[in-house]
């Protein structure tokens, strides 16, 4: 089987880092590059984190391109309280010795996708600013991306940043609007499914049996995230939001997808950044997105743990 070639647009971020780990632990996936946007942390911090995590994993050959420092239109929103001030919880990785690519992420995306139309899939697990601006700068990008998998939105589920809105979408709703209506084949992984994929403290303890730098990194990185969730919801676990996007490749059978017309509110009222699906065809508009509305969460978390155990046992003992 040829592995699926992917580029991840990301705002690392604890669960972003876990996504890199899962991608690198998965033979079904070939991670070709990371492009960085603001979101969980500033773009500078996110770039540093991406380079540091890749170096930690011995994968510094994977290029990292730094992108936009601000959302398209709205003000900058950062979520340091969830991801810790560094963006990686309590993990303390050394300053990376490698540097980002000289290209801006917008141009990097344009160049990579147009060089090999239909060959590479894009996984967007932060605010969609880079992707939206790349589409506006080079409209042919829309037909060159094989497939776009987005972590974002909350369809029937409540929001996690406002009562209605999910963080990645709320952090740049205008960009989400551009991307949703771009014509790129999109699979959306909203809170409806990510909230069913909980990594519990006991799971993290299980990983420690491998006694490896990777398992310790996961423990340190998730510590702040776990505290935050516990304080907010009384749940002793954290959602694997971003890693779940990779289920579309490594375990698609776990996801229940429905094709729907999905839009995002950009009208600046209390629903700003809220995503909704037209379940009953009220808008008369054609479907634009495959939305994950259910997942066998425990099985995904088990798969995640097994892959982390394998990675710990093989790479960095």
């Amino acid at each position: 089987m040829t592995p699926k070639r992917i580029i991840i647009d990301t705002d690392p971020g604890v669960d972003d880092a876990l996504t890199f780990l899962l991608a690198l632990a998965s033979p079904e996936i070939q991670l070709e590059a990371l492009t960085i946007t603001q979101g969980n942390v500033t773009v500078e911090r996110g770039t540093r984190n991406a380079l540091a995590v890749l170096e930690f994993l011995g994968e510094s050959h994977i290029p990292v391109a730094q992108g936009t420092s601000l959302p398209m239109v709205g003000p900058l929103l950062a979520s340091g309280h969830v991801h810790g001030s560094s963006g990686l919880g309590n993990a303390n990785l050394p300053e990376p010795t490698t540097k980002p690519a000289s290209h801006h992420a917008i141009d990097y995306l344009i160049e990579r996708f147009l060089a090999e139309p239909g060959e590479i899939s894009l996984f967007a697990i932060g605010p969609l600013t880079n992707v939206a601006l790349a589409i506006r700068k080079e409209p042919r990008l829309a037909s060159a991306v094989k497939e776009l998998v987005i972590m974002g939105g909350a369809i029937r589920e409540g929001g996690n940043i406002t009562p209605q809105a999910e963080f990645n979408i709320y952090a740049d709703p205008h960009a989400a609007h551009v991307v949703f209506h771009s014509g790129i084949p999109i699979t959306l992984i909203p809170l409806d499914v990510t909230h069913k994929c909980m990594l519990y403290t006991k799971d993290i303890q299980r990983l420690q049996k491998t006694n490896s730098p990777i398992s310790r990194f996961i423990e340190d990185a998730t510590a702040v995230y776990l505290e935050f969730t516990k304080e907010k919801t009384d749940i002793d676990g954290c959602a694997l939001h971003d890693p779940l996007t990779l289920a579309t490749v490594i375990a698609p059978e776990l996801l229940t997808l429905e094709e729907l017309y999905v839009d995002v509110d950009i009208s600046s009222g209390p629903s700003m950044g809220s995503t909704f699906a037209d379940f009953y065809g009220n808008t008369g508009k054609p479907v634009n997105i495959k939305v994950a509305l259910d997942v066998r969460g425990k099985e995904f978390v088990e798969l995640f743990l097994e892959r982390m155990e394998n990675l710990s046992n093989s790479a960095l003992r």
Partner: protein, 316 residues
């Protein structure tokens, strides 16, 4: 006298083409390039128009870079009823022999501004998509650009696209929002002043007294524009918005300015794209631009007509 180095970001467009000609006719400015954006015409048609106008004026050495084809967020809105299907009214310029540069318009703006810090004056006479995208890709152009002159908005004046909104701002209100709040030094030329600057058939007749290819172009382009103004707005003559903005780069005394906090409504309601100034400091926010609110229209029209005559003589 050192010439002011300018780049015009434009959607040609009848009054855009007159602004380009005015730049070429004016010894106070040096036209470093044109970046083309959607608006009055599609970006593709606008680029052809830009190249044709430069060729008409013997200025094909000025680089033309194609920018964005669509507004940042809103759907596309072009203005064939105002500018004709080609964007140049009844004018029929030959297809240009020259081509746009390969570089994207946003990248051209970034490169020119960043490699000449404090030197480049930007004259934005179309929707602000290119400039907004450039700002997001390279935030340091805020410090590196010398000044930005924008044709757009309607402060106390009514809109020309919706009852409240002016065309350039309405077409890409999100881009206007980005540019207004960027921190760049902005001078805004809203409809409040441009709608006082009406080019009359008599003025065009004076330009026509000079024999070259330029006056017949101006006559054919503005005849269509005048018919539009008559039919839709009951105005005799045509409003030459963009040339006024260009003229302010070297003849600031044509207008009176006030500094205000100016914002644009992007909330998607009936006021979408409406610009407003905080005259009474209700928002508590600091001024973010100079707004031209008074103009000496006949002085400007006289300057415009004379410069068109000079340019026509020069190329004849």
């Amino acid at each position: 006298m050192t010439k002011k180095r300018i780049i015009i970001d434009t959607d040609p467009g009848i009054d855009d083409s007159l602004a380009i000609l005015l730049a070429l006719a004016s010894p106070e400015v040096q036209l470093e390039g044109l970046t083309v954006v959607h608006g009055n015409s599609s970006t593709e048609q606008g680029t052809i128009n830009a190249l044709s106008i430069l060729e008409l004026a013997g200025a094909s050495d000025v680089p033309v870079a194609m920018g964005c084809e669509l507004p940042l967020v809103q759907p596309s809105l072009l203005a064939p009823e105002t500018h004709g299907n080609t964007g140049l009214g009844y004018a029929n310029l030959p297809n240009p022999g020259s081509k746009p540069i390969v570089q994207n318009g946003c990248d051209f703006l970034i490169e020119q501004i960043m490699s000449n810090p404090g030197e480049i004056t930007l004259v934005a006479v179309g929707p602000l998509t290119n400039i907004a995208l450039a700002l997001r890709q390279e935030p340091r152009i805020v410090q590196a650009v010398k000044e930005v002159f924008i044709m757009g908005g309607a402060i106390r004046h009514e809109g020309n696209t919706t009852p409240l909104a002016e065309f350039n701002t309405y077409v890409d209100p999100h881009a206007a929002h980005i540019v207004y709040h960027s921190g760049m030094p902005i001078t805004l030329t809203p409809l409040d002043v441009t709608y006082q600057c009406i080019l009359l058939a008599d003025d065009v007749a004076r330009i026509m007294q000079v024999g070259s290819d330029i006056p017949p172009f101006i006559e054919a382009a503005t005849r269509f524009y005048m018919e539009f103004h008559d039919e839709y707005q009951g105005i005799q003559g045509c409003v030459i918005n963009d040339p006024l903005t260009l003229a302010l780069t070297f003849a600031p005394e044509l207008c009176d300015y006030e500094e205000y906090y100016v914002d644009v409504d992007i909330s998607g309601g009936v006021s979408m794209g409406k610009t407003f100034a905080d005259f009474y400091k209700m928002t508590g926010k600091p001024a973010n631009m100079k707004v031209a609110l008074g103009v000496r229209p006949r002085d400007f029209i006289k300057l415009f007509v004379e410069r068109m005559q000079v340019l026509s003589r020069r190329i004849s």
